[in-house]
């Protein structure tokens, strides 16, 4: 399509029915109460001139361009700040208004560079547009007076410039930073003529700016402009697609000039993000065209041989022949594969289909194993399906928000901005985290309770919260009686004294009174919602904790309406989708067990193949079986298990033991060092399919460019299956989605046509809910009644000892993404060039460690070297690091411990010691 310019109605929409009728320039219009005159005019096709107004921000009323006349009112009020009233008659054009607007524009233009023809925003500048709109023909003041034309350009940010000479001080950037992003990094410095936008008195790169791009998007001139636009020119066409970073799944307009991608602009109609973005999705797409990408298939007989580039036919035939050869020697179950949460639903679906139907076994797992598999187990046990309960918009109706083991401002920044907006409006916040994450105290936000628990004690804390709810009579009995089962047994369990806040205080480190107050707030504060992340799941009791949170939500009646719920913040863009698509070894698409003869029969009929009724191997089981010898070949789609999985020594031993490792990826990653076949994958800019985000929203991923490898990933998989003797033919990915819909009840109504028509849908999408289901469990749980499950606290076997006295916990930061394969190949490295170890000053002092020292981090399974950063975000005894860089290899030290139900690794608790790197080691 040509360049898509979304309409800007000037001020935000107001909720509620359209009840206020008025006339604008003689045209009747009816709008909700509280709507501005400007928006009402725009609703009937009349654009009132404006500069400081945009519909993503509340009205400000500073530019004085949007003046109107209203019958019966004196003067010329600003239409952006004037709410409509019933019967109002508005005139937007008159000689008087024309004169006033021209006067305003004269003042602006008298202090603006007149370089429109060479300006990077030429053709996309609201100041330029408004000059034409108001009919400006002269600037009577001349251009020689005091001005800002010599203001310097701040080029410090890697992605955008700030040219202060072009600034009109409309404050849109300042307000976007506050209202939309919630960071408040920008301000207007000075007064009167000296007023100017400032990043807190320093340059952008040194400021609190998080480079979300909201200011750039809000800027009506070329003051804040993407470097790519300055270098490449204004784009000329748009493709609407979906971001491939975190589980928020933001919609973007990919804007191109010819075949070249110039910029990614968040899409206002995107259901997940509604026009907002973060530094990764907005700017960090350069990896897709990075020279490190491998575009040609490669093979090698052994991992010590050099790679041989080959054509696709050779690579596919070689892969198929070696897989079949291994099966002929070691049995049908000796091979398997891993699907990727970074690829589309369609690409995941064909991999699991290839494994089940062509390989003939259920040895398929997904990288969700190491992040949210406990979510799948826990929510299925309690609610009946493996998904979060709410849409993202729901948080705007929450009165109490409990964030457990998640760091949304870094991990899910666009959703965090929604959450922060609600918190600024007055919702209460409870943070449960060993680390003092930014949300605990940030501009205009302060958590009412920060339960700073010891790592590994989540279940003890959630049980204590539930204990207070139960024993203080705060249970929502009508909800429980009408909607739930097994409550009495659970109540008897949770009421036991050992679950009281006082009993677990010493263990958890959280003062009992703080727990009691938090529980009372959660139960009585109105709509209470739980949002959680990997700090819940990546524990030995990850699944238990998910069930514990579900118990708490049910006991307090916080399920089944807006503003409440239990909500996993998914790590990767398509974690939800990869799980939905049948990537787990025990489940076919739609979370149906492989042992179900009826379900299996449906798939067998459609696929024309006999399917196994027994579960296959999970990822950690594959590693164990590889070392033991019964598992001989692994197909890895878009996951760097040699860097991301725990206890890397064991993973490397397993990979080295395999006869065949096939890697399908963008880059020769760490896992490719063990590979015999490399099948080049496609970036999200080349993909054609769908992603499903953390709110179950199925979004289209549209190709911005043709596959640089010459082949779509689903085609590669289908051709390997064919070469193995199993027919798998699709003409295009819409046929794959049609097959998914035919086999999966929750996707029954999904098709590319519907997605193109509606923009997106949230599953379940079927005859009962043809346009999807934003909020689940409204009239009943998926399993019928919500089930209370007893959740006894069982401490992890990973304990701090004399030898390893500290506990390491891990996480990620805003600018980097997981193992960094993508973000390390962008300018985002400017913010995070290496992983560091955060250590409490007391622990550092005990060890003679100063800020910036190189230290050795040792656990019982391995050791690595990092630079120490002294920080009091963690309690004494806890250290923290990220895992974005292979050189530090944080997973060298993480252990084999895992969640009891799902084998999700216990990344969050590792007993370690930290010491200064000795001169001998340094040498």
């Amino acid at each position: 399509m040509s360049l898509l310019k979304e309409p800007d109605l000037g001020t935000p929409a107001r909720p509620g029915p359209a009840t206020v009728s008025l006339e604008v320039d003689g045209l009747p219009v009816t709008v909700p109460e509280g709507t501005s005159v400007m928006r009402a005019a725009a609703s009937c096709g009349i654009d009132v001139p404006k500069l400081c107004a945009t519909d993503s921000l509340e009205a400000f009323g500073s530019c004085r361009l949007c003046l109107v006349e209203i019958d019966g009112r004196r003067g010329t009020p600003a239409s952006c700040t004037t709410p409509v009233t019933d019967g109002m008659r508005v005139s937007t054009q008159s000689p008087k208004l024309e004169k006033l607007r021209q006067g305003v524009m004269e003042l602006y233009i008298s202090d603006h560079p007149l370089d429109c023809l060479t300006c990077s925003a030429n053709g996309d500048c609201e100041l330029q547009d408004m000059s034409g709109t108001v009919g400006l023909r002269q600037v009577r003041y001349g251009y020689d007076g005091a001005n800002h034309l010599d203001e310097k350009t701040d080029t410090s940010n890697p992605y955008f410039d700030f040219d202060a000479s072009k600034c009109i001080s409309c404050s849109r950037c300042v307000r976007a930073c506050g209202e939309v992003q919630g960071t408040f990094a920008l301000t207007i410095e000075g007064r009167g003529f000296g007023s100017k936008v400032s990043a807190g008195g320093t340059d952008f790169m040194s400021s609190e700016c998080v480079s979300c791009g909201a200011c750039v998007q809000a800027c009506p001139t070329a003051t804040l402009q993407e470097k790519s636009v300055i270098q490449l020119g204004m784009p000329s066409r748009s493709v609407i697609t979906t971001c491939a970073y975190c589980g928020v799944g933001c919609s973007f307009k990919a804007e191109l000039r010819g075949a070249e991608l110039v910029r990614m602009v968040p899409y206002k109609d995107g259901g997940a993000n509604e026009g907002h973005s973060c530094v990764k999705g907005r700017f960090a797409f350069g990896y897709a065209t990075h020279p490190d990408r491998v575009l040609t298939p490669m093979i090698r007989p052994t991992i010590t041989d050099e790679w041989q580039p080959v054509d696709w036919d050779t690579a596919i035939a070689y892969t198929a022949a070696r897989l079949r050869d291994i099966q002929s020697r070691h049995g049908v179950a000796s091979i398997g594969g891993i699907t990727s949460s970074r690829t589309t639903n369609e690409e995941v679906y064909v991999v699991q289909k290839m494994i089940r139907a062509a390989f003939g076994n259920n040895n398929v797992d997904t990288c969700a194993r190491v992040c949210h598999s406990p979510t799948g187990y826990g929510l299925k046990q309690t609610f009946g399906t493996s998904a979060g309960t709410q849409d993202f918009r729901s948080v705007a109706k929450s009165d109490v928000i409990m964030v457990i083991g998640a760091n949304p401002t870094d991990g899910h920044p666009v959703f965090a901005s929604r959450m922060k907006r609600r918190l600024r409006e007055g919702a209460k916040l409870i943070v449960v985290d060993p680390r003092r994450i930014d949300l605990v105290r940030s501009p205009h936000i302060e958590a009412q309770h920060h339960l700073q628990l010891a790592p590994g004690t989540n279940v003890a804390v959630v049980n204590a919260l539930a204990h207070v709810v139960l024993t203080e009579g705060l249970v929502d009995r009508s909800f429980v009686d009408e909607r739930c089962e097994d409550f009495d047994d659970w109540a008897a369990f949770i009421a036991r004294p050992e679950n009281s806040p006082e009993a677990v205080e010493e263990l958890t480190g959280v003062p009992a009174e703080e727990v009691r107050q938090a529980a009372r707030l959660f139960a009585t504060g109105g709509n209470a919602a739980i949002y959680y992340g990997l700090g819940v799941t990546e524990h030995s009791q990850g699944s238990t904790m998910v069930m514990g949170m579900a118990n708490l939500a049910m006991a307090t009646g916080n399920i089944g309406r807006e503003g409440v719920g239990v909500n996993p913040l998914r790590g990767q863009n398509n974690v939800q989708g990869s799980c939905d698509m049948g990537s787990f070894p025990h489940e076919l698409p739609g979370y149906r067990h492989v042992s179900d003869d009826v379900v299996r029969g449906v798939f067998e009929n459609m696929w024309g193949s006999t399917l196994q009724a027994e579960p296959g191997l999970r990822i950690p089981n594959m590693f164990d079986a590889a070392v033991e010898g019964s598992f001989r070949a692994l197909y890895v789609q878009g996951e760097d298990i040699a860097q991301s999985d725990p206890n890397i020594k064991h993973v490397h031993a397993a990979l080295a033991a395999l006869e065949l490792v096939v890697v399908q990826d963008l880059f020769l990653n760490e896992t490719a060092k063990f590979a015999h076949v490399f099948l080049p994958g496609t970036s999200f800019l080349e993909k054609d399919g769908t992603f499903t985000n953390a709110e179950r929203r199925i979004n289209r991923v549209r190709p911005v460019m043709a596959p640089k490898t010459g082949k779509h990933e689903w085609q590669i998989v289908a051709e390997i299956a064919e070469a193995m003797g199993y027919p798998m033919r699709y003409d295009d990915p819409s046929q794959i989605m049609d097959e998914i819909a035919a086999l999966t009840p929750t996707f029954a109504g999904v098709s590319f046509d519907k997605l193109d028509k509606l923009g997106s849908v949230q599953w379940p999408c079927n005859d009962a809910a043809p346009e999807g289901t934003p909020i689940m469990h409204m009239d009943g749980f998926v399993r019928g009644r919500g089930r209370f499950v007893q959740t006894p606290f069982v401490p992890t076997r990973e304990r701090s000892t004399r030898k390893y006295p500290l506990i390491l916990t891990t996480g990620r930061i805003l600018s980097q993404y997981n193992v960094g394969a993508q973000t390390r190949r962008t300018a985002n490295v400017a913010w995070h060039p290496e992983d560091v170890l955060e250590i409490h000053p007391h622990d550092a002092e005990d060890r003679g460690i100063s800020n910036g020292d190189e230290v050795v981090l040792t656990s019982r399974v391995g050791a690595t070297t990092l630079r120490a950063v002294l920080a009091d975000r963690m309690p004494v005894g806890v250290v923290y690091t990220t895992f974005h860089h292979p050189v530090t290899g944080a997973n060298v030290v993480t252990t084999e411990n895992s969640d009891w139900a799902t084998n999700c690794p216990e990344y969050k608790v590792t007993a370690v010691q930290v010491g200064l790197k000795s001169p001998a080691m340094a040498g």
Partner: protein, 68 residues
């Protein structure tokens, strides 16, 4: 300790609040639903070869699995 023994002992620890028979049945059901047949076979071998390595509930579940 073999992975199978470590994992079933971890599972058993989660069901200790239940009556022994119910706990053993629940553990066995869990393993039946989620473990690959070769893992169950290895567990069966361990149940016979090194029962002392197994938590009593895990041992009971392991024996139950051989009869399922």
């Amino acid at each position: 300790m073999s992975p199978q023994v470590r994992m079933i002992n971890d599972i058993a620890a989660q069901f200790r609040h239940q009556a022994p028979d119910a706990a053993a049945a629940a553990i066995a059901e869990h393993i039946r639903a989620f473990w690959d047949p070769r893992m169950r076979a290895e567990l069966a071998r361990r149940v016979e070869a090194e029962p002392e390595a197994l938590d009593p509930l895990a041992l009971a579940a392991g024996r139950l699995l051989t009869t399922m």
